[in-house]
């Protein structure tokens, strides 16, 4: 273990307004959730051409439709969930299937899967009306290693630019091949940044997560410096521990292709703005965050396994789910206590320790992006 460099004297937590001011939160949403690429699900949720998922993002409703048939290269399109006629929402459910076209329930305006308007009853009486002027309003969409991303900003960096060297870094886990085994959705009464900060230090582990601390020591491992679009590091599994699970044993095979070193580590990475990846030797856990207000965050936690393991008779993930659901709840509990304490008129920023270096760097990133 290397000792970490001391933080500057000014390494204090953020002022309260970054957690309590709805106007500032809206600016964050605009900056981080409207201009950046945001993870909204997994490609496996779209089994066929015409399958869709609908998501609330930054106050808007969008749906993402698969435009490629099985066997073809992965292809998705994202559209704003409203008809160009009178604004009616097109998808009521959060997932489903379009049979070749997308029809509005209200007046039957109809679009193809590429968003082109192909039917508009009774508009022929309007001589200047042209269908090509009223396609569905689209957003950018893409897929990386099975993660479906959308971007509400039509200009700006590409998904590849935002991901930078992450594809290389995570190649050994072949996450695109993995399949979701299970998931839990949590509603957390805390600001989204508190969840990312909680994820980004293990100083709290001895006190809050005694079970976790027995599997992987909080002083083990090493962090990367903060990168422009992500931050993270790794921790080591204790001797005799095979993976993060209730008892540290692992009833599953290691993921194929991992080095011996990576089989002894867990990598925890926060991909800004909303995807947290925890890459274990035998599975990948993801947390996908959706801010619902300055003091509320919806979080989808999912565990992804190799399809051969999932298909193996006797496969189980109960050990993983039980361990992480317990740990998650401990984390959300303190995130909520922090949200409440920071909301007090008496709150003032407190000092970070050198084990919280990523949090301080993340705070600087937020403040700089907001131009404060």
């Amino acid at each position: 273990m290397k000792p970490r460099a001391p933080l500057p004297l000014t390494a204090f937590t953020l002022p309260a307004k970054y957690y309590t001011d709805p106007g500032l939160h809206q600016r964050e949403v605009d900056l981080f959730f409207r201009r950046m690429w945001v993870c909204v699900g997994r490609f496996q949720e779209l089994p066929e051409r015409g399958s869709f998922i609908a998501r609330h993002l930054a106050g808007d409703s969008l749906f993402i439709v698969r435009t490629s048939a099985p066997g073809e290269p992965e292809s998705v399109k994202a559209f704003h969930n409203l008809c160009r006629h009178r604004g009616t929402q097109l998808c009521r459910d959060d997932h489903g299937h379009f049979n070749g076209s997308i029809q509005c329930e209200y007046h039957a305006w109809t679009y193809d899967l590429d968003g082109r308007l192909i039917g508009a009853p009774h508009m022929e009486g309007s001589p200047h009306f042209r269908k090509e002027d009223y396609p569905l309003l689209s957003a950018r969409a893409g897929v990386w290693e099975g993660f479906v991303y959308v971007c509400l900003d039509e200009s700006g960096p590409t998904l590849e630019q935002q991901l930078a060297d992450l594809p290389l870094k995570f190649r050994p886990w072949h996450m695109g091949d993995l399949r979701r085994g299970d998931g839990v959705t949590y509603d957390i009464a805390a600001n989204w940044k508190l969840v990312i900060q909680n994820f980004s230090e293990c100083l709290h582990c001895p006190n809050l997560h005694p079970a976790l601390n027995k599997l992987s020591h909080y002083m083990s491992g090493e962090n990367e410096p903060l990168r422009p679009t992500y931050m993270g590091g790794r921790m080591d599994l204790n001797e005799g521990v095979a993976t993060m699970s209730m008892d540290g044993t692992c009833p599953r095979a290691m993921l194929p292709g991992l080095s011996a070193a990576d089989q002894r580590r867990v990598y925890y990475y926060a991909l800004f703005p909303n995807l947290l990846i925890s890459a274990h030797p035998d599975y990948v856990m993801t947390h996908t965050l959706y801010p619902m207000g300055h003091d509320r965050t919806r979080l989808v936690c999912e565990w992804h396994f190799h399809p051969e393991e999932l298909a193996r008779p006797g496969f189980t993930l109960a050990d993983v789910r039980e361990f992480w659901d317990m740990t998650n709840r401990q984390d959300w509990h303190v995130c909520e206590l922090a949200q409440r304490g920071i909301s007090s008129s008496a709150y003032r920023p407190g000092p970070y320790s050198s084990r919280e270096d990523l949090l301080y760097a993340f705070d600087r990133f937020i403040v700089a992006a907001l131009g404060d």
Copy 2:
């Protein structure tokens, strides 16, 4: 069927703010629900002198009390629901009966049915206090064909002026004689104007209301041009259809006095700001709207029949109720989808077809009244 004139090139739906801005909504409430006469119920809800109904209107609570005995000419008074002493609400329930006077529960200040203060315990110690200075605060009230109206604006047009030629137009149905058979209250997560717009076109009928479209073809009938205080039109019953009901048959007698032509039609009129009348050959359906916010509307739907039919052994309205409750729910569903879609940051006004001429006219009326 006459082809309709094409709409102007600028015939687009309203900008989002007309559905999403609470401040603009408050201006609409002030203009349309505080200055205009508003329908708040039926005179039959007031069976005796002293009977009252209480209503929330434009943020205020009012009660309407019947001041005429049975057999006398219809007479009602409307009062703000608060005592002149310390502001205490006088009516807790939404209907009831005053035994000759109205007494505040708190300190027993007492008013007669005309609103005059007739008792104020211990005020005799205040030498300048005069009971005549503290009557109940009144609103204008009136009755037309059994509909009880109130107006929060003490000046402005009379009820007769607002109704214009509607009394003549609706005379054949003798609505004042009809009696409520049943009713349903709906809470709709949509702006009040979306409900009126939905009511004012049948372009959506083939797709959304297949059962309705079998009874009355959406291209049948004709609209009047928009009038200063109402708009509407008529549709024809299909051949072999007797009325709007589940199967198109009619187990009731036609309303007395209707012409042969009117026995083959349904008249749909929106009386601004909040009464929608659907006059059928054998009954009248009403929708009374109460905006509860920019995105919420409470709606009372009622079916009114001839008292001789209501009294007839074997009378049923189940066919009517079932048909319209189904149709209502289809309508509120798309109104709610429209409210949600219009609330998206991506929404932009869409083009109206010539079958939506009344909606475009209604929108112009709203915009002009707001002075935008």
Copy 3:
């Protein structure tokens, strides 16, 4: 009974904004609940050194911890409920016990019962960090006759100064010796001032509280003039009535040391901003108010008895609890009706009678304190 002096011609109730404007309410909270001493409970709720109660006050969370052992002079400390490290709330429950120190769940920062930081893991890596710079944030705290008070303003008058001559006035009841027999918490949809006004006149008693009026005549007794920090008066028990209870009999001994005159009276005092004391011959009732918004008040009503009576076999308080719970509910009901009526756009101030002299004085106190 002396006739009361007539009130000035301008003795009208307050304008609506004092009950309906959230901004004005915030100013009241700042003036009356942040600058004044506020009652937050009874010392008996803290049985041991280390016992704590947590309270929400003026938007903040505080906890009060007992720092004296049994037998030692009463001593309490009040702290803001948040850790100096990352702002995490320290107490989750509204009462409990600290075993000698106060530890944050998140990163184990630890404080002694005087609020000194005594443990801060891994901060040794920060060379300029000094534990003495990060004590818990304290508020002033004190105890009078068993009532625990806190004050969020570090300067300003002492508790003794705020209480003025009340300790002398209430000495005969020895309230510090009394113990809570029972209590009820009410959530009232009304402004806190309406509750104090309701408490401060009995003009409403004949109409609203017929049972109470049989025990103690609403015209009996006498009020003191309003004092800078309290107001109140007394009422006489009717002949044959022993105390305020369901039937006016008293199955308990009188409080020791009361004069014969005080055994025939009930004293009703409102100690600004939030403690209402009703001193009966055999028990003391308290109402402790917590404003939760401009139109919501949480109120804790408790009945306090002499410990010898409480310990006596066959002791009962059912008669007291039943009588006052019934009376309380009648009062909160009209407070809520007043809140709703005053919220009407039609409300205008009404005239006070000479039996409402304390209310008028209280209103002037509020207006003057706000500088309006």
